[in-house]
Symmetry: C2
Subunit: 343 residues, 2 copies
């Protein structure tokens, strides 16, 4: 059997070394060891080196609890998803985690699952743990009441936003994204454009629909049909296209409020003998790779750049922690990704 590393008593893993053990090994006092390890104070080079190699030898890692106790900072932030962690939260969280990790911050993950009680529970937990800041995210872009009043630490809302205009929120410019989609369809010669989207009670659905209609009006056009509100599902995309075909309304493009709807639309169009993009051009929203690339043909779609959004939000949180808050609502542009469905 090969010799164990790091632990003198096999089977019982080494417990972390403390600074006093390092000091003892180096033959100095605890305070001196601390100075040596942090480059503070004035020490002889030889002494400093002795401490450093003692620390190395013991695999010393300072106990963060002790450090934060006297610095008052924990180098930790909390990330609360108000609703379930899902497709939208992931890129957001990854972006945020990426930006924070680079700043040597650790991230507490809290999944409130649409439950206000869990949300408050997590908030209390995070405050008790003295996190340096909190990022609040959610599945919908709709504004929500602030997570707490007069919190002792900065809070940034990402994707979702706060109803308090003084809170810092970072949101995608959905209206701008919808306008880009319509502009692209216009630029490729389409004139009879329909819009299928999710439930009318969803903020995203109405914002995108209004922006699309508005952009058409600026071009002197009416939509091919009134925006059709339904669900964020393929089934609704299929159904809506069948309804549209049933009315006999002529249309040469469909802008959909989500990639799932667009994919359902593509299937229904092809089943009805309409070719995409020959007869009808198709644009989705979200640029969800699985849907947009799995679709036949691959789907032109609006990307909200959620990972960049998360990174931005994290950056603003870090700035706020360092005393430079960015209050207010910040919008980030969407990007149109062009693929074969409009080529």
């Amino acid at each position: 059997m090969p010799p164990r590393k790091l632990s003198e008593t096999p089977g019982a893993p080494a417990k972390p070394a403390t600074i006093s053990e390092v000091a003892l090994l180096a033959g100095v006092s605890v305070g001196t060891a601390s100075k040596a390890l942090n480059g503070r104070g004035s020490l002889r080079a030889e002494t400093r080196q002795r401490v450093l190699s003692a620390a190395e030898q013991l695999g010393f890692q300072p106990n963060r609890a002790a450090v934060s106790l006297n610095s008052g900072r924990t180098y930790t932030v909390g990330m609360i998803t108000t609703d379930t962690i899902g497709r939208f939260s992931i890129p957001l969280m990854m972006g945020a985690e990426d930006a924070l990790g680079a700043g040597e911050m650790s991230v507490f993950l809290c999944d409130a699952r649409d439950d206000p009680i869990r949300e408050q529970y997590y908030l209390r937990t995070l405050l008790s743990r003295r996190v340096d800041g909190i990022i609040v995210t959610g599945r919908r872009t709709q504004a929500r009441p602030p997570i707490g009043a007069d919190l002792p630490i900065p809070v940034v809302y990402a994707f979702i936003s706060s109803t308090d205009p003084h809170d810092c929120s970072v949101v995608p410019d959905e209206a701008g994204g919808a306008r880009k989609a319509v502009e692209h369809l216009l630029a490729t010669g389409r004139r009879r454009i329909a819009h299928l989207t999710g439930p009318e009670r969803h903020h995203s659905a109405t914002v995108r629909a209004s922006a699309a209609v508005e952009r058409l009006a600026e071009a002197g056009l009416d939509p091919a049909a009134a925006p059709m509100f339904g669900e964020w599902s393929e089934a609704w995309g299929r159904q809506a296209v069948r309804m549209l075909l049933g009315t006999g309304t002529p249309f040469d493009a469909v802008f959909c409020g989500s990639d799932q709807i667009a994919r359902g639309a593509a299937d229904a169009l092809q089943a009805a003998g309409r070719r995409v993009p020959g007869d009808v051009a198709l644009v989705g929203f979200d640029n969800w790779d699985v849907m947009a690339l799995g679709c036949q043909p691959p789907l032109t779609s609006v990307d909200m750049e959620l990972e960049a959004l998360g990174r931005t939000a994290a950056g603003m949180l870090l700035a706020a922690i360092n005393g430079e808050p960015s209050p207010g609502r910040h919008t980030r542009p969407c990007r149109l990704v062009i693929r074969d469905s409009t080529a």
Copy 2:
């Protein structure tokens, strides 16, 4: 303007109260306050109550750094995804987070992004933060080298597993899942069953394929064709079905290694005029709602019950933290979800 809560100086948010402030307000010593708040020691009921209401009044939350400094426990665990957080990690993480949150544990989120250096960086960070345990997850079920040797805290591998058989790993019984899929097809009268799956270098692909072939052999049958390895994509599902049809091999069922492949297969079958499930029954793997439900017809699929897997892993970690480790590899059954594609 409504009065501010919690902070006497508007604009400058209250900073958290300490136990000495509570003690001062209650007119007792710090030690007594501590006992009152934790139900220790013997105090007069009136004294205890006085402290409790002082704490209430100040919104006191004990500083966790201070608590963990003398308990030696942080009530925190780290969750490292060795590769990018994705579709598989999410339910795992949610299950784990759920089980840990109930035990009042907080979770550090670490996304190593397929980078061994980041992985070791996160490991050091977690050890420095003195987490009570670590959960390691990944996108693939393939075994991987232990994340560290002789760590001072318990580690549980979830979904992914460790090559060291003494490490605690919790994995789905993919072979069993594949057998269930084949059994279901046999039970519904299918005899010429083909198998399409992902890359041969993927552990999951080969395990599922071998199990399927084995189960067929037990029924005295050969597969309709040799298992076809490709990619985990719809495009491959379509292509493979076209290849299968091209050879003229007769088949009345296709078991696919993923829902994406199955969905591509469904599209290609229908495009070729084969009806699902009339002519060909179809079974997927993963039970990914978006794919399985978006497919026409909805897809029968094998569910690895990842959320339950995450919960189990978290439970084992908690047990290990409390001194009752569960070394070794633990498999959890998969569940077959029957829908119209095999009805």
